[in-house]
C-alpha cells in the first residue's frame, strides 16, 4: 500500500516536472518566433513631380496629385512579382497573373487577395532640397 502511494506520488511529481518544462518552453517559443519589424529604410526621390506625375522605383510607385503625394508598394501581394503602372487604365497591374490594384493600393481583381501596403511620404524641406523621402 505504502509502495503504491510512493509510485503514485513519484508519477505525479514527474508529471509536474513535465508540465513545468512545457510552461517554461512557452516563453522560449514566443521569444524565438517573434519577428522584429524591419527598421524603416528611407529612400530619397530627388525629383520635382508635377500634378499627375508618376514615379516608378524598384520597390514602390510614387503618385502626386493636387492634394496629396503617396507611395504604394510595387510588389504584388499574390506571388511577389513587380507591378507595372498602366497609364491607360490608371491602374497597377501585375504582369505575371494580371492582378489589378488602384493607385491607392486597393485590390480590384485577383488572384491577389490583399491590398498593397502604403508607405509614408515626406516632402523634403530646406533651401536646396527638392523631392520626397519615402519610408519603406
Amino acid at each position: 500500500m505504502a509502495e503504491e502511494r510512493r509510485t503514485f506520488l513519484l508519477n505525479g511529481w514527474n508529471w509536474i516536472r513535465l508540465a513545468a518544462a512545457a510552461v517554461l518552453c512557452y516563453p522560449l517559443f514566443r521569444f524565438v518566433k517573434f519577428k522584429v519589424p524591419k527598421k524603416p529604410r528611407l529612400v530619397k526621390v530627388e525629383k520635382l513631380l508635377k500634378v499627375g506625375d508618376v514615379y516608378l522605383d524598384q520597390e514602390f510607385v510614387l503618385f502626386h496629385d493636387e492634394s496629396d503625394t503617396w507611395a504604394v508598394s510595387r510588389i504584388c501581394t499574390h506571388l511577389g512579382c513587380r507591378l507595372n503602372f498602366s497609364e491607360k487604365e490608371h491602374l497597377l497591374i501585375c504582369p505575371c497573373h494580371q492582378s489589378m490594384f488602384t493607385t491607392k493600393g486597393v485590390m480590384l481583381a485577383g488572384p491577389a487577395k490583399r491590398n498593397l501596403p502604403l508607405f509614408a511620404v515626406e516632402k523634403m524641406s530646406g533651401e536646396n532640397a527638392k523631392g520626397f523621402i519615402v519610408s519603406l
Binding site: 499574390h78 506571388l79 513587380r82 507595372n84 497591374i93 504582369p95 505575371c96 497573373h97 488572384p111
Partner: protein
C-alpha cells in the same frame, strides 16, 4: 519510326549536350556577376566579344540536354530495356526534377523581366509550404533577402552535385565520347550562332509576361489555385507517379496512365497560358 526511336542513343546525346552546357557555363561564369544579374547578362549580349554566342550555347545546350533526357526516359519506358529495382529507379528519377531546377535557376539568373518574376514566384511558392517552406527557400532561392547569390551557388555547383549523386550509378555504366557525336555538337554550335538566346528587358507598362516554357502551365494554374496547391501539391503528384513508372504489374500501368493524363492536363494549361 519505332526503330529510329529505339536505336538512337538519346541518353548519350543528352549527356554530350550536358558536357557542352557545363563547358559553356564555365566560360560564362568568368564574366557573369550575380550581384548585377541583368546588367551582367545584357553585357554578355551587347558588350563582351562573343558573349551572346556563349550565352546562346549555354542556353540551347541546356535545353537540349533536358529535352533529350525526357525523350531518353520515354523511349526506355516503352522499349525493351531491363527494369531497375524500385529503390534504384526512384534514386535515378530524382535526377529529373533536379535537372529541371537547374534549367529554371538558369532562367532566373538572367535577371530580366521573366527571370526576376519567375524567381520571386518560386520563392513565394516555397514560402507557402508549411513548416519547412522558409528553410527550403533559404536553401534554394532567398532572392528577396540575398539577391541572386544562393540561386547562383545552386546553379553552378549545388544542384549539379545533387544531380550527379542521383545519376552517378546510371552514368558510370556507359561510356560516352564526344567524338562519336561530332556532328551533333557542331549542330548545337551552329544553332547557337544563328539564334540568340532570349532576353526580355523590363519595360514600363507591360501587363503580361510569360514564364519559362516548362512552367507556363504552372503559371496558368496559379491563377486559380492557392500557391501551395498549384505550385507544390500538383507537381508533387506527378513526381510521385514518376517514382512508380517502372514498377511491375498494376502499379506501373496506373502510374504511366496517371503521368500521361497529368501531362495532357498540364499541356492544356500551357496552351491556355500561350493564348493569353
Amino acid at each position: 519510326m519505332k526503330r529510329f526511336l529505339l536505336e538512337t542513343k538519346w541518353g548519350a546525346m543528352s549527356l554530350v549536350a550536358l558536357y557542352v552546357s557545363i563547358l559553356s557555363g564555365v566560360v560564362l561564369a568568368l564574366q557573369y556577376d550575380e550581384a548585377h544579374p541583368f546588367y551582367s547578362a545584357t553585357s554578355l549580349d551587347l558588350l563582351i566579344p562573343f558573349g551572346i554566342f556563349w550565352r546562346s550555347l549555354h542556353f540551347y545546350s541546356s535545353q537540349i540536354f533536358f529535352l533529350l533526357s525526357v525523350v531518353h526516359l520515354v523511349v526506355i519506358l516503352y522499349g525493351p530495356a531491363d527494369r531497375l529495382s524500385l529503390p534504384k529507379w526512384i534514386w535515378l528519377i530524382a535526377g529529373m526534377p533536379i535537372a529541371l531546377l537547374l534549367l529554371f535557376t538558369g532562367y532566373v539568373l538572367r535577371g530580366d523581366a521573366t527571370g526576376e518574376s519567375a524567381g520571386l514566384i518560386a520563392e513565394n511558392i516555397c514560402l507557402s509550404i508549411p513548416v519547412i517552406g522558409s528553410m527550403l527557400n533559404s536553401l534554394l532561392f532567398a532572392i528577396t533577402e540575398e539577391g541572386m547569390k544562393r540561386v547562383y551557388a545552386n546553379h553552378i555547383i549545388g544542384l549539379e552535385v545533387i544531380w550527379v549523386i542521383f545519376v552517378w550509378d546510371h552514368l558510370r555504366r556507359y561510356r560516352v565520347t564526344v567524338a562519336e557525336h561530332g556532328w551533333f555538337v557542331l549542330g548545337i554550335f551552329a544553332f547557337s550562332l544563328i539564334f540568340p538566346a532570349p532576353m526580355e528587358p523590363m519595360k514600363m507598362g507591360v501587363s503580361h509576361i510569360s514564364g519559362p516554357w516548362f512552367f507556363l502551365g504552372l503559371q496558368e494554374l496559379l491563377r486559380y489555385l492557392q500557391p501551395f496547391l498549384a505550385g507544390v501539391m500538383f507537381p508533387l503528384l506527378f513526381m510521385v507517379s514518376l517514382a512508380f513508372l517502372q514498377a511491375n504489374h498494376n502499379w506501373g500501368r496506373k502510374a504511366r496512365l496517371f503521368a500521361g493524363s497529368w501531362l495532357i492536363l498540364y499541356g492544356g494549361f500551357t496552351l491556355v497560358a500561350l493564348s493569353r
